[in-house]
């Protein structure tokens, strides 16, 4: 006869019967008892013919004892040893019966399958082709919707449009002010360090002016709006998908593209150039603050130098780009929203994906513009 003690369990062999003694307080927060010893006991010789329980000294228990007992009966069943629950308190007995009442459904367990590399490449390619197709059909549908807008046949609510214009125009001003002022300051500093070597500090005004007008004003505004408004569009539309509001539009015969995507796109197309102009101005002011404060230039000289440096073409190019960025941000946001799944985490993914898609689209467009403008000599 040998006895093994773990925690509050002890095993005892009485002839062919393994007597499991459970004692003390069994509580989840004190941890679970291990069933390793049990397995060892069942493997040992002489062969066990029955498992029985002794709960004389058991004080109080919760699911920790049930978990342990469920493991015990699983292990015993695997080895074909019958378990005699007679020694258990009736409460434990009934709960164990309940846990075993419904047998495990075959095939319900999901098995993690190792997917071969080739299969993963294949599925990935199909998924890519599928999403490219979705993108194309979305862009196509939007083009048709825009034509309907110009023919005054599109159906959307004017009040929605004004609300959206307010959200992605005036309400974005504080953050645009902060960022573009700082971009102006940074550009001025970068330029100042280099130009001071030649005593050509005055050209800081050229650098800041041209850079803001041609590239940075439009691009910084676009990236800000992709994070601020593109994500908001995706989250709004994604949530409307979760609450079946999109389905409700479809069954009433209203196109979600006209009703939701169109006003958002129009609002951004209208607001982006204005925000871009504003960002250009604030950026130049940021540059001027450094020029006047640290490079000993006068406001008047800095202003005059800027006016001489920049042309209307620079300004128009930047503003035009900002319109295009606006379209890209709105479409990326709305597309990801419409593609969203119907759970809260899917809406989060849609918002993230809208920002990523938006920024990638902006940078790609920026590169294309750089090449085209160079070729055209603008």
């Amino acid at each position: 006869m040998k006895a093994t003690v773990t925690n509050q369990v002890s095993f005892e062999r009485v002839g062919g019967v393994l007597l499991v003694s459970l004692a003390g307080r069994w509580q989840l927060r004190r941890g679970l008892a291990s069933s390793k010893v049990l397995e060892k006991e069942l493997q040992g010789l002489p062969r066990i013919t029955r498992v029985a329980f002794d709960t004389e000294r058991l004080n109080n228990w919760d699911s920790s004892i049930l978990t342990f007992l469920a493991t015990v009966s699983d292990v015993a069943r695997q080895r074909g040893v019958p378990v005699d629950p007679a020694g258990l308190p009736p409460g434990i007995h009934r709960l164990l019966d309940l846990a075993e009442a419904v047998p495990e459904r075959a095939g319900a367990r999901q098995e993690a399958r190792q997917v071969p590399l080739l299969e993963r490449i294949g599925t990935g390619t199909f998924a890519l082709a599928g999403s490219a197709g979705e993108l194309l059909s979305f862009v196509g549908d939007m083009a048709i919707t825009l034509v309907r807008l110009f023919r005054m046949k599109a159906r959307y609510r004017a009040s929605d449009l004004f609300l959206l214009i307010q959200q992605c125009g005036p309400q974005a001003l504080p953050i645009v002010t902060l960022i573009s002022f700082l971009v102006g300051v940074i550009l001025a500093f970068v330029g100042a360090v280099q130009l001071k070597q030649f005593g050509a500090q005055i050209y800081v005004a050229n650098l800041v002016g041209v850079a803001m007008l041609r590239e940075m004003g439009a691009m910084m505004t676009a990236i800000l709006m992709a994070g601020r408004t593109g994500a908001a569009f995706a989250a709004q539309i994604g949530t409307m998908k979760v609450t079946q509001e999109i389905d409700a539009f479809t069954t009433v015969g209203l196109s979600p593209l006209e009703f939701l995507v169109l006003p958002r796109t129009v609002a951004l197309i209208l607001m982006m150039p204005l925000l871009c102009l504003y960002a250009d101005l604030v950026g130049i002011a940021g540059g001027a603050a450094i020029g006047v404060g640290m490079l000993d230039l006068s406001w008047k000289t800095y202003f005059q130098q800027t006016v001489d440096a920049v042309s209307l073409t620079d300004l128009a190019g930047g503003v035009f780009k900002s319109c295009v960025y606006g379209v890209l941000i709105a479409l990326a946001g709305c597309l990801r929203g419409l593609q969203s799944g119907t759970s809260s985490s899917a809406v989060g993914d849609a918002a993230t994906s809208a920002v990523v898609t938006g920024i990638v689209a902006i940078i790609v467009a920026c590169g294309v513009f750089a090449v085209v403008f160079y070729v055209l000599g603008i």
């Binding site: 609450t243 079946q244 509001e245 409700a248 069954t251 009433v252």
Partner: protein
């Protein structure tokens, strides 16, 4: 309503579903569903959780395309019809979604008014009057200018019904109408459904597993079985309860009460 009167005397069923198979990719949810719904029926689509009841409803209103099979409204093939034809059919259909699905950016009056703006020539003042009437019918008089987020879930559901009724549809679809409602509100909704059928002659299709409603309002039904993946029984719910042979259906209709009759 002469069109309705002619159809009612004819033998063409109001809605007919033929050999419908619903599938997600290669996974077949339900196959070979065939049933008809007559004018003025309160038709119950029942089945356990996950059996595809709501998906069947989505197929019937064109939100999901069937993998195979067709759906007819009167004599028109809905599945094969073009965009404008579908629109015309959908205009005569009202849908109450599971969560109400009110447009959250609009007040209740605007929610109900939108379909009216789209499909009628009423003036804004008239639209508002109609919206008030519909809200009064579902017991929400005075809530015209509330936003959906400002009212309770049960009220949202009733407002959703008011919107579904906006254009006086010939057919109303309900997706789990009593889910999330207290017993009394659920019963009032049942009475409202019967009243709409009796007074306006509306055909009602209800997806539910609420037994109390099934026996109170349903005069015809189908049972979707998730194991055999098709319809295993159809007929008036009360008769099914009395005479069903299938033990699973009997167990469903009696809350698992008569395993051993």
């Amino acid at each position: 309503m002469t069109e309705g009167a002619i159809a009612e005397t004819g033998t063409i069923p109001h809605i007919a579903v033929r050999d419908l198979t619903m599938a997600f990719g290669s996974f077949v949810l339900m196959h070979d569903l065939t049933f008809t719904i007559n004018h003025g029926d309160v038709f119950i689509i029942m089945g356990g959780s996950g059996s595809g009841k709501s998906t069947l409803l989505r197929h019937m209103i064109g939100l999901t395309e069937p993998a195979r099979g067709e759906i007819f409204y009167d004599a028109t093939n809905f599945t094969r019809s073009s965009g404008t034809e579908r629109q015309q059919i959908l205009q005569r259909i009202g849908v109450l979604f599971q969560s109400g699905a009110l447009w959250s950016a609009m007040t209740l009056a605007e929610n109900i008014g939108l379909p009216l703006e789209e499909y009628t020539d009423l003036s804004p003042a008239e639209i508002r009057d109609v919206a008030s009437l519909k809200l009064a019918l579902v017991g929400l008089k005075g809530f015209e200018d509330y936003y959906p987020s400002q009212i309770s879930g049960g009220m949202q559901k009733r407002a959703g019904l008011a919107r579904a009724m906006a254009l006086d549809p010939r057919i109303l679809f309900f997706d789990e109408p009593s889910a999330g409602l207290d017993p009394i509100t659920a019963r009032l909704l049942d009475e409202l459904i019967l009243e709409l059928r009796d007074s306006l002659g509306t055909t009602v299709v209800v997806v539910t597993h609420d037994l109390a409603s099934i026996f109170t309002i349903g005069n015809n039904s189908i049972y979707l079985d998730s194991d055999s993946r098709t319809i295993t029984a159809s007929g008036p719910p009360n008769e099914l309860r009395a005479h069903a042979q299938d033990s699973k259906l009997r167990s469903f209709l009696t809350r698992g009460g008569t395993h051993n009759p």
